[in-house]
């Protein structure tokens, strides 16, 4: 065990945890966050996604020791009353079904829109490769990203 300070959604936290423990368990079990989620543990789905220094990162395979930079979860990209455009678009398009997967999609969308403010369909398709949504809400996700980009869905 070693003390480790991480910054999550703007707040510092001191952790006493094994350095090889994936970040996901620090967020969920040490900090008690309800997101991100455990989906696969092998970086194949995106349910565990966080931004580290603005970069979408699979927290389920990121050892605590490797974390350097501020962490942002979907709770940190906006808040009730001041939602991020992708959060608002998710509501407006009624995108989630079970919603368990949304950390991956929304955080990849945040990064995509920062890099390409007006993405094409192909930009969106490529940016989301590797992410899973088992309920099959892909069409609504596509509409939400376009809406968040200010494009007609």
């Amino acid at each position: 065990m070693a003390a480790k300070v991480i910054n999550v959604d703007g707040a510092d936290h001191t952790l006493d945890a094994a350095p090889d423990m994936p970040l996901l368990y620090a967020l969920r079990d040490d900090l008690g966050l309800n997101n991100p989620k455990f989906g696969c543990g092998v970086a194949q789905c995106g349910a565990c996604m966080v931004l580290i220094g603005g970069v979408p990162t699979f927290s389920c395979v990121t050892p605590l020791a490797d974390v350097s930079g501020p962490i942002t979860t979907i709770a940190g990209i906006g808040e009730p009353g001041a939602l991020h455009p992708i959060q608002q678009a998710y509501i407006d398009e009624a995108t989630p079904q079970c919603g368990y997967c949304i950390s991956g999609w929304m955080l990849r969308a945040v990064a995509l829109l920062k890099e390409i403010p007006r993405p094409t369909d192909n930009d969106i398709r490529e940016a989301f490769a590797g992410l899973k949504c088992r309920c099959g809400t892909h069409m609504a996700i596509m509409r939400a990203v376009k809406r968040a980009a200010g494009l007609a869905p």
Partner: protein, 763 residues
């Protein structure tokens, strides 16, 4: 997915579950003196013949409906709110729904058979109308006027200039009003009052799109899934499944996890788990514990012999479900006979997250938090695991990480119960990815043989299909009994496979027809990673892939356009309207042979399929592009015509249909549970791929046909059914190659295309 027992197996008393509810003798409350005793102070028991079991109105006028079903993501909550608000004349925003808590809802069967609106919604419609009737009766008495002189709007009853709010009519009391109950629990539960629900012409809320207003917590990460439940003192558990299906642990080396100080081992026969204070330690313990397993014979045949095994295995049961005319005689006078065989693989629920459950045992009572679709039945299973009376066990449903039938949630609930009991502390258990894929109950693999006889005028005079496969019901569709849980089976309870499959339900009027199913024995008669249970639209995609692919094959043989050929064999206008709606919307042009429209290495085509099931009629046209170099099939566009009777929420329905179509396209194009001689080998998203964004359609164009005069049908599953056949027919249209085995993965498509090239190339 109809699940309800034919008669109530629970005693009436057993329905009065724990959770601090007042338990009173039902007999003492019966009697006419209680009818319409609005505002009586005592809450009646939670039984299906009490109005208060379904509807509550508080002093502020807030309405709560209590539903023994679950919203697994389609917006059922909103649809039920619309139905209740409509009948009560209450503002939609003031109506909430409580679901799936055994202490607060009666057993209406859980999420089952696309029945949320069809069964629970109709019960709530009737009871909400009855609540309104009682409130008006009360208001009439208060104002000394006739009920007919009252008007109601937004939960306020008016008589001329005088008015009173529902909240003031109810006060702190209860309705204490009896309902007429049919004596059933589960899906077949029917309870109603004296009131007649509104005529659809009076609707202001039902039939109109209403926005989902429950999504904000999810998008800010503040929504509590079952995986997020935390109980003080809770330990984390992980299960350890055998590496060879059927093996049991013979010894465990406790020293191998001694370095994880809080880790403990729970072992009971084949049931083996670990618990630890930290989740990561539980995961490490489950990986690092050294276990010796019994030597057992490899249980499974080579995977590439699966369909031959199914075809050759003796029947456990064979049932002719539908028989019309004299099929044998008609075949004997056929001008032509068309025959084909189709194959559908085992498929996994493969939910976004492996299942999770939390069990706490405290002061002689137990609570299970579960993502199951059947919390009332889960309470029974947990009671059995804990050897506690049912009325001491409360199940609280919380949304799980995906839910498409009897998945791994039911097993997690029972695992958590045994772990919590063994260690004397609350336990949260969640599977790892390889368990979610590898050990969830599966949808069955099957082989379908189809034959059709054509007369000289190219009309079908006889039609015969046999659907033969593993049963869809190796375990019950709920976890009420331990023999139907993985834990129970690992402890030695046998797999009690009930022979069950089904037949096609398309509305074709053939003069001679036989539709039958047969099941074969499971490959392993105890805890099996291939045990089957209901997966979304059980057997629907299997059967419809066969019959609606076959219809196109027969149409081709007859030289007829596939849609026109179907319509020529139908008489039911309701069904024909749906087929025509899809054809018109997609601007279908008649085709009598594959188009093979090529552009570079890409072949484009379109295909049609239709289905009836779960109270809905669906017709789908798929437009695909097939990359002849890679075998990749892109389901570029779907046009869907969907008729499910009365529509409650058009925008919610459209989203539900979209999810069905995309998930079904994933199942048709990618999904296949594979195994070697010892175990399931499709254990993650790399070995069990599903549709991802690059393969998502460009558009799903939906036409819904509203029939407000009809009762609502289902929407949670019906659009799943015809997708595979529509895709297979479109691939044939594009390539001239008929795929009779699902999924249509790139490798399989490529192999089929190269086979075609070989067979057509000059010698």
């Amino acid at each position: 997915m109809s699940d309800a027992p034919k008669s109530p197996r629970l005693s009436r008393r057993a329905l009065l579950v724990g959770g601090g509810l007042l338990v009173v003798s039902v007999g003492a409350l019966a009697g006419p003196q209680l009818v319409s005793m609005l505002s009586a102070g005592q809450r009646p028991p939670l039984v299906p013949d009490e109005l208060d079991s379904f509807i509550a109105i508080d002093r502020s006028g807030a309405v709560t409906a209590f539903a023994g079903v679950m919203d697994v993501g389609h917006g059922l909550t909103l649809a039920l709110r619309q139905i209740v608000a409509e009948e009560l004349d209450a503002p939609l925003a003031r109506v909430a729904v409580v679901m799936g808590d055994t202490a607060r809802t009666v057993n209406q069967g859980g999420a089952s058979g696309s029945g949320g609106v069809q069964s629970c919604g109709m019960v709530l419609r009737s009871i909400a109308a009855e609540a309104r009737r009682l409130l008006l009766e009360r208001a009439a008495a208060r104002f000394s006027v006739a009920v007919g002189d009252l008007t109601v709007a937004d939960a306020i009853v008016s008589a001329g200039k005088r008015s009173v709010a529902y909240g003031d009519l109810v006060g702190e009391g209860y309705f204490n009003s009896k309902l007429e109950w049919n004596g059933e629990i589960g899906r077949r539960l029917q309870s109603k009052g004296q009131a007649t629900p509104k005529s659809p012409s009076e609707y202001r809320i039902v039939g109109r799109s209403a926005p989902r207003d429950d999504l904000a917590p999810r998008v800010v990460g503040d929504f509590q899934y079952v995986t997020d439940v935390k109980v003080p003192g809770m330990l984390h558990g992980r299960m350890i499944r055998p590496p060879v299906a059927g093996a049991v642990p013979t010894s465990v080396d406790e020293a191998s996890i001694a370095h994880l100080s809080s880790a403990r081992i729970v072992r009971r026969e084949g049931f083996l788990g670990v618990v630890a204070e930290r989740e990561w330690d539980a995961i490490r313990a489950s990986r690092e514990l050294k276990v010796s397993w019994s030597n057992v014979e490899s249980p499974f045949p080579p995977y590439d012999t699966l369909y031959d095994h199914i075809a050759a295995a003796p029947d456990v049961e064979r049932t002719v479900e539908k028989s019309v005319g004299d099929v044998a005689a008609a075949f004997s006078r056929a001008a032509r006979v068309v025959e084909a065989r189709y194959e559908w693989p085992f498929q996994s629920h493969a939910c976004m997250g492996p299942a999770c459950a939390v069990v706490e045992i405290k002061n002689g009572r137990a609570t299970v938090w579960t993502g199951t679709q059947k919390p009332h039945f889960a309470a029974e299973g947990v009671a059995a695991a804990l050897e506690m009376p049912l009325d001491k066990v409360r199940a609280i449903w919380a949304l799980g990480p995906g839910s498409y039938g009897r998945n791994d949630s039911g097993d997690a609930a029972i695992d958590a119960a045994f772990l919590a009991k063994a260690v004397g502390k609350p336990v949260r258990v969640q599977g790892m990815r390889h368990e979610g894929h590898g050990w969830d109950p599966k949808g069955p693999a099957s082989v379908h043989t189809a034959r059709a006889a054509l007369d000289r005028n190219n009309r079908i005079i006889a039609y015969q299909i046999l659907n033969k496969g593993f049963s869809r019901r190796d375990i019950e569709f709920n976890e009420a009994k331990l023999e139907h849980s993985l834990a129970g089976q690992l402890m030695g309870l046998p797999l009690l496979a009930a022979p069950a499959f089904s037949v096609q339900d398309e509305e074709y009027a053939f003069p001679n027809m036989e539709l039958a199913w047969a099941t074969i024995a499971p490959l392993l008669d105890r805890a099996s990673p291939l045990r089957t249970a209901h997966l979304r639209d059980p057997c629907g995609p299997n059967n419809n892939f066969a019959s609606e692919s076959f219809f196109d094959e027969v149409a081709l043989a007859a030289g007829a356009d596939p849609i026109a050929f179907r319509l020529a064999h139908m008489t039911d206008e309701r069904h024909m309207a749906v087929l025509r709606a899809a054809a018109e919307r997609a601007r279908w042009t008649p085709r009598r042979r594959p188009y093979r429209r090529a552009s570079g290495g890409t072949l484009a085509g379109r295909g049609f399929a239709y289905s009836r099931g779960h109270g809905a009629i669906v017709a789908i046209i798929a437009d695909v592009e097939v990359d002849a170099r890679t075998g990749r099939v892109w389901p570029r566009r779907f046009t869907v015509a969907h008729e499910c009777g009365q529509i409650i929420n058009p925008s919610g329905l459209a989203l539900c249909i979209e999810g069905n179509v995309v998930q079904a396209a994933s199942r048709a194009l990618f999904e296949e549970v594979t195994f070697d001689r010892n175990a399931v080998t499709s254990v993650d998203w790399a070995t069990y791929p599903i549709l991802e964004m690059p393969d998502a359609p460009e558009a799903i164009d939906i036409v819904t046909l509203d029939r407000p005069e009809l009762p609502p049908g289902g929407a949670g599953e019906p659009a799943t059914r015809p997708v595979a056949a529509a895709l297979a027919n479109a691939i044939f249209d594009a390539t001239g190659v008929r795929l009779r085995r699902a999924p249509f993965s790139p490798a399989r498509v490529l192999a089929a295309l190269s086979g075609e090239r070989r067979s057509t190339s000059p010698a």
